[in-house]
């Protein structure tokens, strides 16, 4: 009799497994998952951040679907979120979990991106992994931006107005972009409708296939070894199979991530401010979400130093150049033998981290 590939040693489980395996080819999937080895070294901690990002995305999907049951876009947006937060049993928890996990997901994606960058995991043959990852980060930020307006409270309204200044500062097409996004000259119920469609239909339709592509690439090429570990002789390098060993540890990290999320959602539940009032003055210190703060601050500073369109062109130009450099880094530093290029790329990475943190902190400091 042929030996079963069932991962559980139990008579009944094996019988069920064999039944499903014959029809679905589960053992092939298992072999594919077990083929990938995850290197074990002092920087292995950073391998978890992709999984943690994925976990928060799954929480987003689950809580997002639950919010969809009660949320009503358009003129009733605020009232429906008020009901979710204060009237519906556990609505506050679902909304808090959704909002906190959105922030935690963006944070985890940032950590994942910088760890990939500094471990040189964008080098050949992983360039498409890097580009698809950048695409996912961009979509995650648009997810965050579009979702922030949906409660239509005072803070969401004015933060969206402020946030829209970034695309609107694009020379020539800026005003057109602004009208297109808003659905009119001002942020209003049409904007909520557009953001809602973007948030629950268009973005998921783009995000999910791109995520699948990204995960397939990770499975295909495996985890990269950082340059420091490449110097270790191959015989001395340690690794563990992705399935089930690394997967077990991943589950443990997900449990920790769930704890952090539950702690934030229950101890610091997401509040709802007063309804948006377009004719009221903007509250003091209004600002976009933390992950847009560095861009916002840079635009503000350049606007002060170079008043008028010069500052705007300079700001948008810097973002564009920065984004292009960040995206093409795998083409510049494409081989582990590129000592000098590798070092320059590392400096760029640390410079980007320092710049983002400094500008964000500066932005909050001067609020």
């Amino acid at each position: 009799m042929q030996k079963s590939s069932c991962p559980v040693r139990n008579r009944y489980a094996t019988a069920v497994w064999n039944y499903a395996d014959e029809r679905l080819g589960l053992s092939e999937l298992l072999a594919f998952a077990g083929k990938k080895q995850v290197p074990q070294h002092k920087h292995s901690f950073w391998y978890y951040w992709g999984g943690i990002s994925l976990f928060f995305f799954l929480v987003q999907c689950l809580t997002g679907v639950l919010l969809l049951v009660y949320y009503r876009p358009g003129a009733e947006a605020y009232e429906s979120v008020r009901q979710i937060t204060y009237d519906i049993e556990f609505g506050w928890l679902v909304r808090s979990a959704h909002s906190w996990s959105a922030n935690l997901m963006v944070f985890a994606v940032f950590v994942h991106m910088f760890s990939v960058f500094l471990m040189k995991a964008y080098r050949k043959p992983r360039e498409f992994g890097w580009w698809s990852g950048l695409g996912l980060l961009g979509l995650a930020m648009v997810f965050g931006f579009s979702g922030y307006l949906l409660p239509m409270d005072e803070l969401a309204y004015f933060a969206t107005k402020v946030g829209l200044e970034i695309p609107m500062s694009t020379p020539v097409i800026g005003p057109f972009l602004g009208d297109l996004i808003r659905g009119g000259p001002e942020v209003g119920e049409h904007t909520v409708q557009r953001f809602f469609a973007l948030h629950v239909v268009i973005l998921p339709a783009l995000f999910v296939p791109l995520l699948m592509f990204h995960l397939w690439l990770v499975q295909r090429h495996g985890n990269a070894i950082p340059p420091g570990e490449e110097a270790v002789p191959a015989a001395e390098r340690e690794s563990i199979p992705f399935f089930p060993n690394f997967m077990m540890k991943d589950v443990a990290m997900w449990l920790i991530a769930l704890n952090v999320l539950a702690l934030l959602a229950s101890v610091y539940p997401w509040q709802l401010g007063p309804p948006a009032n377009p004719i009221a003055p903007a509250p003091l210190g209004i600002h976009p979400e933390w992950y847009f703060m560095s861009q916002f601050q840079l635009l503000k500073v350049l606007g002060n130093w170079f008043p008028g369109i010069t500052g705007e062109i300079l700001g948008i130009g810097l973002f564009t150049i920065g984004g292009i450099v960040w995206a093409v880094i795998p083409l510049y530093d494409n081989d582990s033998r590129n000592g000098r290029r590798g070092r320059i790329a590392t400096y760029i990475g640390f410079g980007a981290i320092a710049g983002l943190i400094a500008l964000t902190a500066w932005g909050y400091w001067v609020l």
Binding site: Q40, S44, E89, G91, E238, I240, K249, I256, N259, L263
Partner: protein, 501 residues
């Protein structure tokens, strides 16, 4: 009330105690659990003739000695130093009742520290059996420190009817044992013992993770799996012990938790319930995380993973300690002393039992304050006469009293009321910020809230977690003016008045 007030901006004095205490609990409970773990593991290794274990255990005992002997001891003293500053009246009550208990604890503490050092420095220098006896002596004395301190800690939540009956009469020390073996003593002792065993596992995972899994796979697997099993007693026995503990908590305090549980769905549940939930969740997660990353794959268990487990244990400890502290609201010693250091039980003054709340309301909270000058007190008396006269005139004409004349002396009076009765729990801008709580309220609205706290009616919604606000009508009004100035005046005004004094 004449003790200095410890003004800790942003976090408040309570969090200074909290931050020291949470880390201290992590270490002090390890000092007991780890003290049992070491001789137990040593005896096991000797019995099995395991040289590799006997090479690992000295490394673990070195880590144990440094962590408990240095950080544990320093943070323990730090707690008492901090509570002496943050809650001097309550600390004084504890010292007056338990000085004998503390003296005994210090005897055991000295033996504990000495034997811990002897245990580490005599590895392979004295006969194995004698070394093991030193280990067990350490374990015994460390358990005794818990046996004693547990009585003092639980007293604050459940001082017991016997002690409360004599509180304020000067005969409290005659009821030492009743106060010591109070209603929550035994469930708390069991709970803390289980925590000790769990923390023995958590910290042993740290040193276990440092074993080279490639060179000593068998040892690493055994040490990690042996250590993880020390978590099991806690996870099986903690739930029934916790229920036992809750059943012994006074109904009035348990109501705070029950109120929170019944309002979870609406999201308005109390802070203490939130903390209990976090505590249960993080504790359960530790078992899951340890199973997945340590027990299932011990050879690749690295120090980073061990740190993640320590982090979870820290979250569990922090939330549990905070929940335990908040369960006492609005008291610092339940049914005896409120969190603003005002006693609920009558005080014996010249043979007469007087309630402090009534005395302060009649004679004034600041009448005998040493923090106000005679000139200030004279200005307050003059202001009081003006306010009383205005009220008499207005009572005859049915009009509202004229707005009070705000002078620096009155703001100072309000500030002293704030420092004496609010600052034990509240800050101006940080933790439990008054500016946040009173935001968008005007003077009348602040007066209404203070009136409710002062009246302390049975139906008052604040009664479950706020102490009574004591003082004369004019003192309460001065506090309202001070708070109004803090919230609605400019910050500079309030600070200028404070600094000018």
């Amino acid at each position: 009330m004449n003790y200095p007030v410890w003004d800790v901006p942003i976090i408040g004095s309570g969090w200074v105690i909290g931050m020291i205490a949470i880390f201290h609990v992590m270490i002090s409970h390890f000092a007991i659990g780890g003290g049992i773990y070491l001789p137990f593991a040593e005896a096991r290794a000797l019995k099995r003739g395991r040289k590799d274990w006997l090479e690992f255990l000295p490394r673990h005992s070195k880590f144990f000695l440094i962590l408990t002997g240095v950080y544990g001891a320093v943070s323990g003293v730090g707690i008492w130093f901090a509570i002496g500053l943050a809650a001097p009246e309550a600390t004084s009550t504890l010292i007056h009742n338990f000085v004998f208990g503390w003296a005994i604890e210090w005897v055991f503490f000295l033996i504990e520290l000495s034997t811990a050092a002897v245990y580490y420095y005599t590895w392979n220098r004295i006969p194995d059996k004698l070394h093991l006896k030193v280990g067990w002596l350490y374990a015994g004395t460390s358990i005794m420190t818990l046996v004693i301190i547990n009585g003092i800690l639980t007293f604050m939540l459940t001082p017991g009817e016997s002690w409360l009956a004599v509180a304020g009469t000067g005969k409290e020390s005659a009821h030492f044992f009743q106060a010591f073996f109070n209603p929550t003593y035994w469930p708390s002792l069991f709970l803390r013992t289980l925590v000790c065993l769990s923390l023995a596992a958590v910290w042993a995972l740290v040193t276990g993770s440092l074993i080279n899994g490639r060179k000593q796979p068998e040892l690493k697997t055994e040490v990690i799996r042996f250590s993880t099993k020390w978590l099991l007693p806690a996870f099986f026995l903690m739930p029934p012990c916790f229920v036992w503990y809750l059943l012994m908590v006074p109904e009035s305090q348990r109501a705070l938790l029950e109120l929170g549980i019944s309002t979870i769905g609406a999201g308005t549940f109390t802070q203490v319930t939130r903390m209990v939930l976090v505590s249960i969740m993080t504790s359960a997660t530790i078992l899951g995380v340890v199973y997945f990353i340590a027990y299932r794959d011990p050879k690749t268990f690295r120090v980073g993973y061990a740190c993640a487990v320590v982090f979870l244990a820290l979250a569990a400890t922090g939330s549990t300690e905070q929940a335990r502290e908040m369960l006492r609201k609005p008291y610092v010693v339940v049914d005896h002393m409120y969190s603003n250091a005002v006693r609920k039980t009558p005080v014996n003054v010249n043979g007469e039992a007087i309630k402090e709340v009534d005395r302060f309301n009649r004679d004034g909270y600041l009448t005998n304050s040493i923090w106000a000058t005679e000139q200030e007190k004279a200005a307050w008396a003059q202001w009081d006469r003006q306010r009383e006269a205005a009220q008499v005139v207005n009572a005859s004409t049915d009009e509202q009293p004229a707005a009070p004349n705000v002078t620096p002396e009155i703001l100072r009076r309000g500030e002293l009321m704030f420092r004496g009765q609010c600052m034990a729990c509240h800050t101006t801008d940080g933790y439990r910020a008054m500016r946040g709580f009173l935001n968008e309220r005007d003077l009348q609205s602040i007066k209404n809230i203070l009136g409710m706290l002062h009246g302390y009616e049975e139906t008052s919604p604040y009664r479950t977690y706020m102490p009574p606000l004591v003082g004369t009508e004019q003192e309460i009004e001065a506090l309202a003016i001070y708070l109004d100035n803090m919230v609605n005046g400019t910050q500079a005004q309030t600070e200028n008045v404070a600094s000018a004094q």
